[in-house]
């Protein structure tokens, strides 16, 4: 902790953590929707990995997966709403049986379609076919790559996953992903591998670029560094390791009012595997539905209206810590 943080945290251990809505009120900040431009689609909690920082607790034994009917309802919603970005996440989206249909139909419905990948869900011929599908439809790949250090990465994501990720990144580079001018965008996401906050995104991107190029000739377009949300499996780990309170305090004391303007929930709506709407994927994990009551995607005429209030909780400090989370 540097003196600046010490200044913010003076006497912190003696007082409770301020509820997020109080913090907003004190700063006279009204958190409400602007124009909703992104539809995030969570296709389910099934995943080949059981990452220790996962806010959703996704894993191989989860059965929540988007059905063909819900997928069609989501596609119809995207068609009538005309979002600028469609962002497919999970779990591991690769493992949803309807993912190919979703990608094929959604790719013509927005200028930008992106998919979150853990880089380890598929291998062999299945992975090659998957990469071909993404390439053919110009899908942006946003890949989890927490650390340049194998031990740190594997401690978060499971033994062997660092090398699998490196292997997948090489495959993606081989077909043109990550290179300027190919139109095939490959972005990396780094989350801290413990109870600490991420560093400056620009500095991390610079270092990741240098090290990955030197070590394996791997290239990518952008790196995003995000704090871990104290939810799901990560919250359990924080609790078991005795880090929960100090982590929450750290997030709260790093509140940056300027970051509120850019938080994702102002411009994004998240739809869960069963078709219900949330202000973001973290609210989905907390089961805090958009507008305070469960609304199904099939009942939505278009994007949520600007000015709609956003449901908040303690976890919202994740997105307002430091430079923020978009």
């Amino acid at each position: 902790m540097n003196p600046e943080q010490a200044l913010q945290e003076i006497g912190a251990s003696e007082r409770p953590i301020e509820p997020f809505r109080h913090t907003l009120a004190k700063q006279a900040i009204k958190l409400e929707r602007g124009k909703t431009t992104t539809l995030q689609i969570n296709v389910g909690l099934l995943c080949n990995q059981s990452c220790r920082h996962c806010h959703l607790g996704a894993g191989p034994h989860r059965r929540e997966n988007m059905s063909a009917q819900t997928a069609e309802e989501v596609i119809a919603y995207a068609e009538r709403s005309r979002f600028e970005v469609l962002d497919i996440t999970g779990g591991a989206p690769e493992l949803n049986p309807n993912i190919e249909t979703l990608i094929k139909k959604l790719s013509s419905l927005a200028p930008r379609i992106m998919i979150r990948s853990n880089l380890s869900a598929l291998d062999g011929r299945k992975r090659d076919e998957w990469i071909g599908l993404l390439k053919d439809h110009g899908v942006v790949i946003v890949a989890s790559f927490p650390s340049l250090d194998e031990a740190q990465a594997d401690s978060q994501r499971g033994k062997g996953n660092f090398q699998k990720s490196i292997d997948s990144l090489r495959k993606l580079n081989a077909v043109g992903y990550g290179y300027e001018g190919t139109g095939l965008e490959l972005d990396l996401v780094s989350n801290p591998t413990g109870a600490f906050l991420p560093s400056s995104q620009a500095q991390m991107e610079k270092r990741f670029r240098e090290v990955l190029k030197k070590k394996g000739g791997i290239v990518f377009n952008h790196l995003y560094s995000f704090a871990n949300a104290p939810l799901g499996r990560f919250r359990q780990w924080l609790l078991q390791s005795g880090n929960l309170e100090s982590y929450l305090r750290r997030l709260a004391s790093s509140f940056n009012p300027c970051a509120v303007e850019g938080v994702m929930c102002r411009t994004l709506v998240s739809v869960s595997w069963d078709g219900y709407l949330y202000d973001c994927d973290f609210n989905l994990a907390r089961d805090l539905p958009m507008g305070g009551s469960r609304t199904h995607v099939s009942h939505m005429e278009g994007p949520p209206e600007p000015g709609t209030p956003i449901a908040v909780g303690e976890h919202c400090y994740t997105c307002t810590a430091g430079a923020g989370f978009t």
Partner: protein
């Protein structure tokens, strides 16, 4: 057991400014400027700080800069090597004074 060093005292560091606010302000501004990216990266500076923290044996600094090193992207191997660097210098500083011992011994011996 009572101890002089308590983790909850670290956030009280700033209270040092209560009796001499101008000096504290200058110190904290200088401190923050030192750790900002310059010719050295923030990551490199945090590693140096971690090593020095061990040399000066400051539990507060070890706590703070272990965390800072992780946040800036260092790994445990790098952090351990940084401590070895400062240990080598600290040990070497003792050993090199052996030259003085030898000089004196030579002077007073027949």
């Amino acid at each position: 057991m009572e101890t002089y060093y308590k983790p909850e005292d670290l956030p009280k560091f700033v209270e040092i400014g209560k009796e001499a606010p101008d000096l504290a302000k200058k110190f904290f501004e200088y401190y923050n400027a030192v750790f900002a990216e310059g010719a050295l990266t923030e990551r490199e500076k945090a590693l140096i700080a971690l090593a020095v923290a061990h040399a000066v044996q400051c539990p507060y600094c070890i706590d703070a800069f272990t965390q800072a090193c992780f946040e800036k992207g260092s790994n445990l191997a790098e952090m351990t090597e940084a401590i070895h660097v400062v240990t080598a210098i600290r040990g070497g500083a003792s050993l090199v004074h052996g030259v003085q011992m030898r000089n004196i011994a030579q002077k007073i011996s027949m």
